[in-house]
Symmetry: C2
Subunit: 444 residues, 2 copies
């Protein structure tokens, strides 16, 4: 690479090398790299990079070439690209499209990106019910020479574009040529509304193992088709969001190594500061019990152990429930079944940790006589508190996602750190209250 | 539903009602429900339930009907079903298959479920390079009447089954009928090895937006085809596993509401107990600083606040890095870039929390004179410790996934609770060491 940026002409770069170097290259270098590849290899690469990268790349190309790259895209991909381009360039990009695509792209831009309408391709194979199989095959062969997205299905529509039925290409190829589509089509078609959330669309794909699902408006007029290859990206993105939120951060919305450091810190600082403010209640709670700690410093020793056990069990519960909700395994109305299970799980897990804690205190006392005269009572305090704190942590972790969803928030905001913070404060209260009850008259 | 279980014959159950009630029904009730549906609706339902449910259902059917349901499945689905059936029944299920499928299923069972070989369908559209387009179309129409999985592509093989090229049906339909496949096929075919991990297969699908990828052995002989609809499930499963591990639990491997309570508790207790044992080091550390706490109880008040801030920042960092690794955005060799970013992020986040902490102490002191004569020094101790603890938490959370992956473990095992536990112990040491340095001669 020369110092001025850009490749030297004699370097024959393979597509794999270019892809390897891709993240490190500027848009101008990428545009130059692309020019060194044979056109079809360059297209393969172009079609697989993200819409954002496509936009940057096109804007870095000489004006004469921009149009031809843009026109190679299907309308839904072109719409994604326009959406990702810097605001000032969107109109110019749209104006480069051919008339039909421009109309389609403009229509698609009206949909929210995360709705079925924003995912769909408005081009699909359309047939009429009175066609014969042979006519349909001939017609499809002609349609595919234009840029119709070929999926596995062709859709049978009436003159007002209402969806009547579907035939798979397999059925079309296997059927006798003189049968009418109305005889062989499946009329019980699964479809989705234009404004169905992409998470729900993904769930439907998982449940049905279809390759494509038609999108219809309120009058059952077919608007486009969502294909399963777009859903892979949706499922992956939704999981990324959930994992980032669960970890106690805003979702980054960009690849980890690409997001600007300052922006990443901003996205992380918000939640962290909010949690810190909540966690300050622990200092208040500890202040409230300062006299007890002063009298029995031994109690302070177990504070981190007890509150973190509550936090850990809460993390577990909230992660399990949030994921089960995202997968549709658990719905809002299942809350009672979940709470019942988690109550049982919390009591069992608390008892296990309580027993381990008790053993530890007995063994350390035997070996080092660490815990003073009242070590049995201290052990009981710790064990009892653990059962209480772990049960509370488990219940809080499993119930919070329900509350958030009921209030219209994303359940994944009930992040592990959020639950841990809540449980830390409550855990201190449980611990010192238990201590007061068990140790009154002896240590306290 | 009658008390004895099973539906009354007069109830005409719709497929949606049956699906709705599904989770609550026993295998016998499901089998009876299925019988009430028209055959093709019943098949639609049968093909969309999980392999485990299919297995239970088939085993609950009268013997005469088992065979017909089993034979409706593609070989890869039949293999999944056999794998999920109780051990004692597997041979009987295999023996019910027709000869060809039995051979294919037996071959598939030799692959690991989470490898490309375990995901692939061994039936696919095979063509020969010397065929013309017209011959290919005729041949495909015949093949589809047998149970070949029709995907979007047909594969061109030489006589020893080596993969020469691929044509999409779209290309086939658009091409002139007398051209040879060798002229129109694409020879630069992306394929995967039989034992490639399903996570890597999913990543390839995301990168390429292909609908199907061929699976080849070491000699480039084509063994089958993985289709994108199976990948949706893989992506979702892998995310579920990661989220459950990140939450500090073993991955459940079953839907939350379906797993037996005892088994779920077992999967959760292991990690929780291990973390508890680790967390016990906090009691040891606190014991080590008992004298300091005794002298300055005010120090104890901030223990939960400080260690949980480290835990929260560690949760953030580990979640972000683990997800970026799973998506292939961050690779092992990127460790230095990640550490550098996280060092900067940790220092920035620590300074933000430190400033908030300092303000809080100053305000409380102004309002309630809570923190005694040396409140400025206490404030400095807390703020300095926060910077140290948050930076350490961020670094530990981001570096642990690299260590685990390097050692061959799943990076997602660097769960939020795991990092929090590690940071709790270290956080205490950082806090009390800072206190000793700043408060020596005054409070300590």
């Amino acid at each position: 690479m020369t110092a001025g940026g850009g490749f030297q002409e004699q370097e024959a770069l393979s597509p794999d090398e270019l892809r390897e170097a891709w993240p490190a290259l500027s848009a101008v270098e990428r545009a130059e790299g692309l020019k060194l590849l044979p056109r079809d290899t360059a297209e393969d690469l172009f079609f697989t990079i993200t819409p954002r990268e496509q936009a940057d790349l096109i804007l870095a190309l000489p004006q004469a070439e921009q149009r031809s790259w843009l026109r190679g895209l299907a309308p839904d991909d072109a719409a994604d690209l326009v959406q990702e381009a810097p605001t000032g360039f969107r109109d110019r990009l749209i104006s480069m499209l051919d008339d039909q695509t421009r109309k389609e792209v403009t229509a698609l831009l009206a949909y929210r990106e995360d709705h079925a309408g924003g995912l769909m391709n408005p081009r699909f194979a359309r047939l009429r019910p009175e066609m014969t199989v042979d006519e349909a095959v001939t017609y499809l062969r002609r349609q595919t020479r234009q840029a119709v997205e070929m999926t596995y299905y062709a859709y049978v529509l009436d003159p007002s574009q209402k969806l009547l039925g579907v035939v798979s290409f397999r059925e079309l190829m296997a059927a006798r040529g003189d049968r009418r589509l109305s005889e062989i089509m499946k009329t019980d078609v699964k479809s989705v509304g234009e404004d169905l959330d992409q998470e729900a669309v993904a769930r439907l794909f998982r449940q049905t193992s279809l390759v494509a699902i038609p999108v219809v408006d309120a009058e059952n007029r077919m608007k486009g088709v969502v294909t399963v290859d777009d859903i892979v990206e949706v499922v992956s993105e939704e999981a990324t969001e959930d994992i980032q939120k669960l970890g106690g951060s805003e979702s980054l919305g960009e690849p980890y190594l690409k997001i600007a450091l300052a922006r990443m810190i901003k996205k992380r600082a918000g939640w962290l500061a909010a949690l810190f403010l909540g966690e300050m209640l622990t200092a208040t709670a500890m202040g409230y019990f300062e006299k007890e700690i002063d009298k029995a410093v031994v109690l302070a020793l177990f504070v981190p152990l007890i509150i973190s056990s509550g936090g850990n069990s809460g993390s577990q519960a909230t992660s399990l429930v949030i994921r089960a909700m995202a997968l549709g395994e658990v719905r809002l109305r299942d809350w009672f079944r979940v709470i019942r299970r988690e109550l049982a799980a919390g009591l069992a897990l608390g008892s296990i940790l309580g027993s381990i804690g008790l053993m530890r205190i007995f063994i350390w006392q035997g070996l080092f006589s660490t815990y003073g005269r009242h070590w049995v009572l201290v052990g009981l305090t710790v064990a009892t508190s653990l059962i209480g704190v772990v049960t509370f942590g488990t219940l809080a972790g499993s119930f919070l996602p329900f509350i958030l969803r009921r209030l219209g928030f994303d359940p994944a905001s009930a992040s592990a750190p959020f639950v841990a913070t809540l449980v830390d404060v409550t855990g201190l209260v449980i611990y010192f209250t238990t201590a007061a009850a068990i140790l009154r008259g002896t240590l306290l």
